[in-house]
Structure formats: structure tokens, C-alpha cells
């Protein structure tokens, strides 16, 4: 099994905010048990590690992958023993900047017994409380933990903390069947399909929503009862939720945690381009404000104003793309 962690990412907001901090990804793949799982976990870890660097701009040195078999892929740094995990997380805590973001993704099999949730590792397992203790070293950073294992639901409660997002493949430790959430979550971060707002970045919320929907679809296609119900806790309440309304605190937190650095070039851009980015932020704000008032406005008035703003934003976007050489 694995646990993987991706760190990263850029919070939503203006140009300046997008540039702050570095991103780190830690992938932990635990015991596989069967060849097919071993193949899957290596494939997912490799895809995620590659995408972190190539798609999302995470520096190679900030990507750490620990796996059952250290020889299974060239990107794997070491075996995913508990000791190695402790070593890597302590090391990360020592070098990460205060504004950095850390994403930890765990693949593998989990278990739940006597109130204790575990991830099965080569050698001693690691449980949720052990992991929570290790994360204490990352208190100032924004941390997201995605546990895709079976019976992972117990991690929601034990890892809950401020400034931390926790996603689990199951809603409780009792959902102990093999999960497919990990595959779909990986696809969300390694492809374009989950980028539902088309801003070129994938937020944790987008990845979660995508994976959750695809899990349901896979079970439906196979005519199976859904035996895994993923949840997300964005506010540290230790409970989380599955269906996340856009305005919910969980969703707000997860939507501001992005994989993918954006337009670092914008910060160093020529004044003309910088002005366009500032205009873009202004128009986006106006659109967001308009959408918030939608239910209180006559439909025709809303539509007219929305169209005007979208046209303005489209012209702005086109101008930015031209200046950045993206054509249009």
C-alpha cells in the first residue's frame, strides 16, 4: 500500500497569493498483498509523481515516494516502512517553509480494529494517531492527507486539525472492502478531466468531486453496491462530508488548495500583462459577486450582466493569451 503525498500547490486568489510558498508531495504505497494491487499502486504512484513535476511544477526534490518495493520504479526513494515514513516526514518538517503546502497521498490497504485505523506497511503498520503525531511538525504549513485505502474512514477523526484537509476513501473504518477511489483520485490529478472550472489548475475539491463521481459510476457500471463512500474534512471538525455544496466551509477550504502552480510568469511580467492580470482578478471578483446575488435578481437582469462580464473576461483572457504567446 502506499501513501502518497503531494504537496503543492497554489491557493486560490490573486496573483500574489498564487506565488507564495512551495509545494511538496509525499506518496506512500503500502503493502499490496496481490500482484494486481502491486501493479496498480506502482502505476498510480508513478503517474502522480510524474504529473506533480511535469503538470504542476512541483520541484523534483520535493517529490518523495516510498513504496513496498523500492526497486519497483526509478522514482521510488525508499521502502515504505514506518521508520522511513517517520524519517521523511521529519525531514520535510525541517525543510519546508512556513507558507509551503504539503500533500500526502496514501495508496494500499487499511484496516480498522478496536477503534484503531491502520495502513498496512512492510514491517510495523502505521496508524492514524501515529501519522497525526508526525504531522505535528507541519503546523504552519497547509497540509492535505488523502488516504485512499480500505477502512480509511477512521483517519478523518484522528488527523483532524486546523489548517489541514483530510480525504478518505471510506466514510468509516467499517467499509473494509477493496477501494477504487485511489485510481480515480490519481486520474483527477494527472489529467484534465477534473478541472471543472477550467482555470488550468486542479483543486483538491475538484479532485475529490471527480474521484467520488467516478467511483459511483464504476460501481454502477459493474452493477455493484457502493461499498466505499469518500469524505472530505476541510475544517478539522473530524467528521467531514461527502456531498459538498460550493459554499460549505469544507468545500471552500478544499477549493483553495490547488495542485498546479500558476503563472509564475505573471509576477515578473511586463506592466501591460500585469495590468491584464489585475483586471482579470477584478472581473472574476465581479462575476463571483454577481453569482452570489443570482437568486435575488430578476433572471433577465442577471443574464444580461453575466453576459457582459463574461465577454469582458473573455476579451481579457484572449489578450493575456496573446501576450503570453498562447495565441488565440
Amino acid at each position: 500500500m502506499l501513501l502518497g503525498m503531494l504537496a503543492l500547490l497554489t491557493p486560490a486568489g490573486g496573483v500574489a497569493a498564487q506565488a507564495s510558498g512551495s509545494a511538496h508531495l509525499v506518496i506512500i504505497s503500502g503493502l499490496s498483498g496481490e500482484e494486481r494491487f502491486a501493479r496498480d499502486f506502482v502505476a498510480w504512484g508513478a503517474a502522480l509523481a510524474a504529473a506533480a513535476e511535469s503538470r504542476h511544477g512541483v520541484p523534483s526534490a520535493n517529490v518523495v515516494w516510498l513504496a513496498e518495493d523500492a526497486e519497483a520504479h526509478e522514482r521510488i526513494r525508499d521502502r515504505s516502512t514506518r521508520a522511513n515514513i517517520e524519517r521523511e516526514l521529519r525531514s520535510l518538517a525541517g525543510r519546508a517553509g512556513a507558507d509551503d503546502r504539503v500533500l500526502i497521498v496514501i495508496y494500499g490497504h487499511g484496516s480498522y480494529q478496536s477503534g484503531e485505523s491502520r495502513v498496512n506497511l512492510p514491517g510495523p503498520d502505521i496508524n492514524a494517531k501515529d501519522l497525526a503525531a508526525l504531522l505535528d511538525g507541519l503546523r504552519t504549513q497547509r497540509v492535505a492527507v488523502v488516504n485512499t485505502t480500505s477502512a480509511s474512514g477512521g483517519f478523518i477523526h484522528d488527523l483532524a486539525a486546523p489548517n489541514r484537509i483530510v480525504i478518505t476513501a471510506t466514510k468509516s473504518g467499517m467499509e473494509a472492502n477493496e477501494t477504487v477511489f485511489g485510481r480515480h483520485f490519481t486520474m483527477a490529478l494527472t489529467g484534465d478531466a477534473a478541472d471543472t472550472d477550467k482555470d488550468g489548475r486542479i483543486s483538491l475539491l475538484e479532485a475529490f468531486d471527480y474521484a467520488r463521481a467516478e467511483v459511483e459510476r464504476e460501481y454502477q457500471r459493474g452493477n455493484k453496491l457502493l461499498t466505499e463512500h469518500a469524505v472530505l474534512d476541510g475544517v478539522g471538525d473530524g467528521k467531514g462530508a461527502a456531498e459538498l455544496a460550493a459554499a460549505s466551509p469544507h468545500a471552500q477550504a478544499a477549493s483553495s488548495f490547488h495542485l498546479g502552480a500558476v503563472a509564475a510568469a505573471a509576477l515578473n511580467a511586463a506592466p501591460e500583462l500585469r495590468a491584464l492580470y489585475e483586471a482579470k482578478a477584478r472581473i472574476e471578483g465581479a462575476i463571483a459577486a454577481l453569482r452570489a446575488r443570482k437568486d435575488t435578481m430578476p433572471a433577465a437582469e442577471y443574464d444580461g450582466e453575466l453576459e457582459r462580464l463574461l465577454l469582458e473576461l473573455s476579451r481579457n483572457g484572449q489578450a493575456i493569451r496573446r501576450l503570453e504567446g498562447g495565441g488565440s
Partner: protein, 864 residues
């Protein structure tokens, strides 16, 4: 009909209650002979006795065995009614009542009731029931209500008295349904008081059946039959329970009952109703009239006779029967309920509602009439009035599971939406309405045009199509209960069917199901709802086959087994295959056979023959008349000719199958041998061994022997595998095309064929196959995306738009992208305004969606 059990059962029950003496001498030889069903010996023994107890029992045995005249004589013992001793007055009353001599019977009951005879309480009950049956319900209720006091003051201690109390209380339940529980308790106390007494068990069984509980009813009837296997009332009760359960054993059981008492009006009436269900009017009339010969005052027999006359179109005879019944009981709403129930069985829904309402004018407390009107109104699509009737029915009879289930179903209707088309009103669940409507509206309109033209009848729009994503809900909508095996149902202009979401992908083809039901709507309209079941089903399956390649039932291995084993019904009995199948597959065989009959009629008698037959049925002609007048043949000759046609059609297949003489349908096709099976096995072995030429040859041989067989182990998939291994994609695609042309529901095969066709560069062919797959499982967004690409490649812009709409309807995670692609499709289709609308919707969700921004600017005319 079910409600009649309660009312009609009274005389049955009184007929089986044994005189008190039987309890006093439980081990006496005559009593024992009677108790165990040795009736002739019991009669002989009792004729040697002259005491009142023995004479009461003699009357009872004679009544049970249908010797009504002798029973009356035995009670009179040569005297006049007034001279009969009080101890025999009730027995005389029952003998007179059984022969319809109501006034004299009531006089006898009154005399016994006012005496100290051991059966005075029974006489009091009989008197109250007689008033009830005359329509004097309020007075009867007052007298029956007194039985509660009798129970409460503890004077009803004997089994006979407790049985009488229970029966009285069961009548009172019409106004207080909770009293049915008290009736059951009293029957059980009676059975405990004297376990040898059959009456409380029989009456309790009848009550359970009247309250829709055939399981407990059957157990009680079986308990009686364990002691007396010839008990005519228990046999009749069990027959009714079996009919309630929808099994085919009812007819044999009622025949057994009539073997003991050939003149029993209740059994004859019930058998007449069974005949009516099979649309065998002659037999139904014969039995109903025999019942009336035995008892000219039998209300149930009159009602059944009235129903037969109504369905045969003889309104005069129907009206005469109704007048007779109402002269006996001016409040006898049951007459109209019986006619209405039979009309429903024959799909005459509008008539049924009208008649049901007439019943309510006579008897507003007829909860069965309220239920019938409500359920039938729903079949006519009148949801609001249906709900009102159903709620009234449920208030009066909360045990009616059909009504309860249907009301629960109606509570889910706010989750549905209505999508109108030119001639249809699609009633779809909100979760799937957007995607289903895309395909359903187009198909429904096509079916309407094609079928109405062929059969010369245009059902008056709108036709309402209700589609249920839960099979249980569809089942309740269809028959009021869960568990119906069907996929669709037609009530004329109201159709209901399973949505593809109700079943696993590959279990059925909703497109062919919808086509089938629309065909019913047309043939019902063409025949004014008089088409027999076998013909409307046959035409519907035939039309499925015409609609699309592969649609509609084709010949199956088990049909051929049944044909070879002599289990296929003659056309004249084909209705029985639908109504009371005698083996599990028979109803499927009946559908298929009926379609062959319809095809045979067209082939032999011309394209207009079916249309002409429907018109003849509309004119009220019987099956026999239709065959004579339209086809110019006799029923027997037609049966023989069709049988010869059937055997000739499948001569090759039958010769290639070795079916054991004692073939069992339960054991299925596994028991079949012969050349076809041998060839299939050889092909499979050769394929597994890599001998591709031999595998192809053997599979080809199997195909030529039984070309219709397209099972998972059939020749077409074998040939597909052979060709794929040989690297011949075109041949593999051809084999798979043959397979899907016979397997309308094999979703995976459709997708696999589309894959092969795409590999061969046949975009149009691939799109066509995927189009057909949508009639099986329209919920896979990836397939819609693929279809959109294929249609775009072949310039079918309208279809690209439809596919893009389908993807949106499936609620994709990436909704902005789906809207953008829809906008592009609309633009390609020439709809700039639509494209603008959709791209704005996309940008509302994802304002920085670069491609959508570019499209918006392009639509604005700011870029190219």
C-alpha cells in the same frame, strides 16, 4: 371478486357448520364417516336414524354433496315446513336457502332462532345474513352487532357458537376494519374448542382470503383437507387461494370440489370466472347457468353471468341478469363490481370505471368498488380521481395491499416530470428524464406513425408513457404488487415500463419494450379493447421484430424443446399460456408462438388480415366468428394448419436437436443433444486447441442447423473469436453483427461490434450499432461521447447535438466542458443562438475556460 368472498362465504360457512350433536357424539360412526369425506356411507348410516341430531347431520351431508332436493325432503320428513320441529327448522332453512327459496328459508330460520334448539344461535346468524343479502344492511348490522354482546357476556362457549360470533363480527368489519382481527381471534378460539370442527377453519380461511392473505388461508384449507381430502368447501377455498396466487392449479382444484358436489353454486360460479379469465365465454355461461339451476337466487352466479353477457356484447342479457339480482338485493353493488373486474381482465378500462361507479351508487360502502375504480382510473391516467377513490378504499379496507402499495407509489410522483411530445406524454423520473426523453420521444413517435398506419387506428393523443427506475414501482403500477415479471404493460392509452435503470444492463431492451406496448395501444384502439390477449401479444412481438433487426423474441432452444415435447398449445388455447401457464417458460413461449401465429396469418391471408381481424373483434365478434368471417376457416382447421406450419418452419432445427422423450423444462437446454450441440462443442474444442479452420467449419455447421440461436455459447460468438484469432477483423465484425441481430439486449456485444467497425474505419456502421445500444443502456457518458465523435465524423450534426445533450443529462463532473461541447455542436448544426446560450452557461461555471471564451468571442463576431 375478492370482496365477494366475504359476503358469499356466509352460506358456504353455514353449510359446513355441523350441528351441535356432532360435537356431542364426535366419535360416532356416521359423524366420523362424514368428517373424513365418506359421504355416501355417512348418508346411508344416517338414514337409519330418526333422532333430530342425526337428521340435522343428514341434511348437512346432503347439502355438502349437492343433493339439495333430498336435503329439503330429509328436513321436512314428509311434513309441511310449519310442522317441522324447532330442532330441524334451521336445517330446513339452510336447505331451502341453498335452493333459493329465500322467504321460506327465513321463516324457518326465524322459528329456529326463537326456540331453544341447539342451533338457535346459528339460525339467528343465518337470519341476519339473509337480511344482509336482501340489502337490509342496517337491520342486519343491528342483529349482527348483538353477537358481540353474546361473546362478551361469555355465553358463546361452544365451537359452533364462537364460529357464529366470528362470522357475525366479520360482517361488522365493513364499518370497522379492526373487527376483522376480533373475528380471527374468535375463529381460533372456536377451533381450539373443537379441533375436529372444520367450519371455523374454513371460515377463517375465507376471511383471510377476503383480506388478501392467501398464505394463511391456504394453510387452513389444507388443514381441513388433511382430515378430509374430499371436502368440497376446502377444495374450493384452496382453488380460490391458488387463483389469487396466480398459479395454474385453481382449475384442477375446483374440478375436484365439483366432483364431490357437482351442483355447488359457489364452485360453479368460481369456475365460470376462471373460464371468463381465459376468454372462454361458452364454458363460463354454461357453469353460471348451472349454478343458477341449483340456486336461482345465487347473486354471485347472476353477477358472473352478467359479466359474461357484458363482455360478449349482449347488453340485453346483461341487463336482465342485473335486474334479477337487484330484485333480490337492491343494494347489490357486487353485481357491478364483478362485471367491472371482468372488464378489467379484458382490458375494458373505461367500461370498468363506469360500471364500478354504478356499483358505488348502489353501495357506497363497497370498498372493493372504490378500489376497483381507483386502480382502474389510474390505468386510464386519471391520477387525481384515482387517488380520491383509493384513499376512500383504504379508509374502509386498510388490508388491501394493492391499494396501499398504489397509494405509496402515488406519493413518489412528485419526483417525476412530464415531457410532452407530439402524440405522447412521457412521465419520467427526474433523475433520468433528460437522457431518456432524448431517445424515447423519437422512438415513440416513429412507432405511432408506423403502427397506426399499418393497423388503421390512431389512439387518441396523448398516450401517456410512465417509466419507472424501480422495478418494484413498475410492478405496483401494473398489478398493485411487487414481483411482476413483465417489462412493460399497456392499459390502452396508458403505458408503463421499466426504465433501463430498473434492471442490469443487458437484461432487456427498453426500446423494443416501448415499441411492443405502443403496438398494444394501437391494437386495443383498433379492436375497441376487444382483441384477445394472444393476438394483441402476437402482433406486438411481431412488430418488435419489424422495428429493428434483432428486436423481438426469436425462437429459443427451450421453445424447440417444448415443441418437440408436444407442450406447445394449440392456437385456440393459447390464451391459457398467458393467463395460467403450466410451466415457468410457457408464458415466454406463448408470446413467441403468438407472434408466429400473427406472422402466419399475414403470410397466409394477406397483409390486411390482422387489421380486418381487429375490426371484427371491434364489432363484438367472438374468436370463432372472426376466424370464420375474416379468415374463412374453422378453429380446429386453423389449429392444425398452424401446427403444421410450425413444424415445417423449424424442421431443420428440430432434426438437429435430440430431446429426451421425458424432457423436463426445469432441467433446461442442458439435457439436449443432437447434431447442433455436437457441432458447437466440437467448434469450442477446436478453438481452444487453436485449430481455427476446424473451429470455423464446426461453428458454421451449428449456425446452419439453428441459425436463430445466439446464446453466449452460440455459433456467432464462436465465429467472432475464430476470426479475431485469425486476424480477420472484417469477418469477426460480420459474425458479431449476426449475433446482435438476434440478441437485442446484449449490450457488451453491441459495444464490441462498434469497436470492430471503428477499427475497420466504418464510422457510420459503428454509430448505428451504438445507437441501438442506447435502447439497452443509455447511461454511459463515454459511449455518448464516442457517438458524438462518430456522428461528427459523418456530418450528422443533429445527432451530435443529441449526444452532447445526453452527456449533460448524465450530470458529468466536468459540466462546463460538456456545455462547451454542446455549444460547439449547436454551432456546427447551425444554431448560433443555442450555441451562445450554452457557452454562456459553460462560462458561468468556469469563467476562465479559455476555449469557451474564444467561442463566445467568435459568436460575438469578434474573432473568426
Amino acid at each position: 371478486m375478492r370482496a365477494a368472498l366475504l359476503a358469499g362465504a356466509v352460506l358456504l360457512a353455514t353449510a359446513v357448520v355441523q350441528p351441535a350433536c356432532a360435537r356431542q357424539q364426535p366419535g360416532g360412526p356416521a359423524e366420523e364417516l362424514y368428517r373424513t369425506g365418506r359421504y355416501d356411507e355417512a348418508i346411508a348410516a344416517l338414514r337409519t336414524r330418526d333422532d333430530a341430531t342425526s337428521r340435522r347431520l343428514l341434511v348437512r351431508v346432503l347439502l355438502d354433496t349437492g343433493r339439495y332436493e333430498e336435503a329439503e325432503s330429509a328436513a321436512l320428513a314428509g311434513g309441511s315446513p310449519d310442522a317441522v320441529p324447532a330442532e330441524l327448522a334451521n336445517a330446513l332453512g339452510e336447505a331451502l336457502y341453498a335452493r333459493g327459496k329465500l322467504q321460506a328459508a327465513e321463516a324457518a330460520f326465524a322459528r329456529a332462532a326463537s326456540s331453544s334448539a341447539p342451533d338457535a344461535l346459528q339460525a339467528r346468524l343465518n337470519l341476519a345474513v339473509a337480511k344482509w343479502e336482501r340489502g337490509e344492511r342496517d337491520e342486519a348490522m343491528r342483529e349482527l352487532d348483538a353477537f358481540i354482546d353474546i361473546y362478551n357476556d361469555g355465553t358463546a362457549r361452544s365451537a359452533e357458537a364462537l364460529t357464529a360470533v366470528a362470522t357475525a363480527v366479520s360482517y361488522l368489519g365493513i364499518r370497522d376494519p379492526q373487527l376483522f382481527h376480533d373475528a380471527v381471534r374468535a375463529y381460533e378460539e372456536a377451533a381450539q374448542a373443537d379441533p375436529s370442527l372444520a367450519a371455523p377453519k374454513l371460515r377463517e380461511g375465507e376471511l383471510f382470503l377476503a383480506k388478501y392473505n392467501s398464505t394463511d388461508a391456504s394453510a387452513l384449507f389444507r388443514e381441513v383437507l388433511a382430515v378430509n381430502p374430499r371436502h368440497p368447501v376446502a377444495l374450493l377455498g384452496l382453488a380460490r387461494a391458488k387463483a389469487f396466487d396466480g398459479t395454474d392449479e385453481a382449475m384442477a382444484l375446483v374440478d375436484s370440489s365439483l366432483a364431490v358436489n357437482a351442483a355447488a353454486p359457489a364452485a360453479l360460479t368460481f369456475r365460470a370466472q376462471l373460464h371468463l379469465g381465459l376468454e372462454d365465454y361458452e364454458s363460463a355461461v354454461r357453469d353460471a347457468e348451472r349454478a343458477l339451476e341449483a340456486n336461482p337466487a345465487s347473486l354471485d352466479a347472476l353477477a358472473t353471468l352478467g359479466a359474461v353477457h357484458f363482455l360478449r356484447g349482449d347488453r340485453g342479457a346483461h341487463d336482465r341478469a342485473r335486474r334479477r339480482a337487484l330484485e333480490l338485493n337492491p343494494r347489490y353493488g357486487r353485481f357491478d363490481v364483478t362485471v367491472a373486474e371482468m372488464a378489467v381482465q379484458q382490458r375494458r378500462y373505461t367500461d370498468a370505471v363506469e360500471i364500478g361507479r354504478r356499483a358505488l351508487e348502489l353501495d357506497p360502502e363497497s370498498w372493493s368498488a372504490h378500489a376497483l375504480v381507483g386502480l382502474t382510473e389510474l390505468r386510464l391516467g386519471n391520477v387525481d380521481s384515482a387517488r380520491r377513490s383509493l384513499e376512500a378504499a383504504f379508509t374502509g379496507d386498510p388490508y388491501n395491499v394493492w391499494v396501499k402499495n398504489t397509494l405509496d407509489l402515488l406519493d413518489t410522483y412528485p419526483q417525476y416530470v412530464t415531457r410532452p411530445t407530439a402524440r405522447f406524454e412521457l412521465f419520467l423520473h427526474g433523475d433520468e428524464a433528460d437522457v431518456l426523453a432524448l431517445y424515447m420521444s423519437e422512438l415513440a413517435e416513429e412507432a405511432y406513425d408506423e403502427l397506426s398506419q399499418r393497423y388503421g387506428a390512431r389512439p387518441t393523443p396523448p398516450i401517456r408513457v410512465e417509466v419507472y427506475p424501480s422495478h418494484a414501482d413498475f410492478s405496483v403500477r401494473s398489478v398493485g404488487l411487487a414481483g411482476l415479471g413483465a417489462l412493460g404493460i399497456a392499459f390502452g392509452n396508458i403505458l408503463a415500463l421499466d426504465s433501463p435503470a430498473a434492471r442490469t444492463a443487458g437484461e432487456f431492451n427498453w426500446g423494443s419494450t416501448l415499441w411492443h406496448e405502443i403496438a398494444h395501444s394501437v391494437t386495443l384502439a383498433a379492436s375497441r379493447h376487444r382483441v384477445p390477449r394472444w393476438l394483441t401479444e402476437g402482433i406486438s412481438v411481431l412488430e418488435e421484430r419489424r422495428a429493428r433487426p434483432g428486436w423481438g423474441e426469436d425462437v429459443s432452444l427451450d421453445f424447440l424443446i417444448a415443441l418437440k415435447s408436444g407442450r406447445i398449445l394449440p392456437v385456440s388455447d393459447l390464451n391459457a399460456g398467458f393467463v395460467r401457464p403450466t410451466y415457468p417458460e410457457q408464458i415466454i413461449h406463448a408470446y413467441y408462438q403468438a407472434s408466429l401465429v400473427a406472422g402466419y396469418i399475414e403470410q397466409q391471408y394477406g397483409e390486411r388480415a390482422l387489421r380486418d381481424m381487429l375490426r371484427a373483434y371491434a364489432d363484438g365478434r367472438t374468436h370463432e366468428q372472426v376466424l370464420r368471417d375474416v379468415l374463412r376457416t374453422e378453429p380446429d382447421a386453423f389449429d392444425r394448419a398452424f401446427d403444421a406450419h410450425l413444424r415445417s418452419t423449424f424442421a431443420t432445427q428440430l432434426a438437429a436437436l435430440d430431446v429426451p422423450a421425458r424432457a423436463s423444462m426445469a432441467r433446461g437446454p442442458a439435457q439436449v443433444g443432437g447434431e447442433f450441440v455436437t457441432a458447437l462443442r466440437a467448434a469450442r474444442s477446436a478453438l481452444e486447441a487453436g485449430r481455427l479452420d476446424e473451429a470455423e467449419q464446426q461453428a458454421g455447421r451449428a449456425r446452419s442447423l439453428f441459425p436463430e440461436y445466439a446464446g453466449a455459447d452460440g455459433p456467432y460468438l464462436l465465429l467472432r473469436d475464430v476470426h479475431l484469432q485469425a486476424g480477420d477483423t472484417a469477418a469477426a465484425a460480420a459474425a458479431l453483427r449476426e449475433h446482435v441481430a438476434r440478441r437485442e439486449s446484449d449490450y457488451d456485444a453491441h459495444i464490441a461490434l462498434a469497436d470492430l467497425l471503428e477499427r475497420l474505419g466504418d464510422a457510420r456502421g459503428a454509430a448505428d450499432v451504438l445507437e441501438r445500444a442506447m435502447y439497452i443502456h443509455p447511461y454511459d457518458a463515454a459511449v455518448h461521447d464516442r457517438m458524438a465523435a462518430l456522428y461528427a465524423a459523418t456530418g450528422q450534426h443533429a445527432r451530435v447535438v443529441r449526444e452532447r445533450r445526453a452527456i449533460l443529462a448524465l450530470n458529468p463532473v466536468n459540466r462546463a466542458d460538456a456545455l462547451y461541447r454542446l455549444a460547439l455542436a449547436l454551432l456546427d448544426a447551425g444554431d448560433r443562438q443555442g450555441a451562445r446560450r450554452e457557452v454562456l452557461r459553460a462560462l458561468e461555471l468556469a469563467p476562465n475556460f479559455a476555449e469557451a471564451q474564444e467561442l463566445l468571442l467568435r459568436l460575438q463576431g469578434e474573432t473568426q
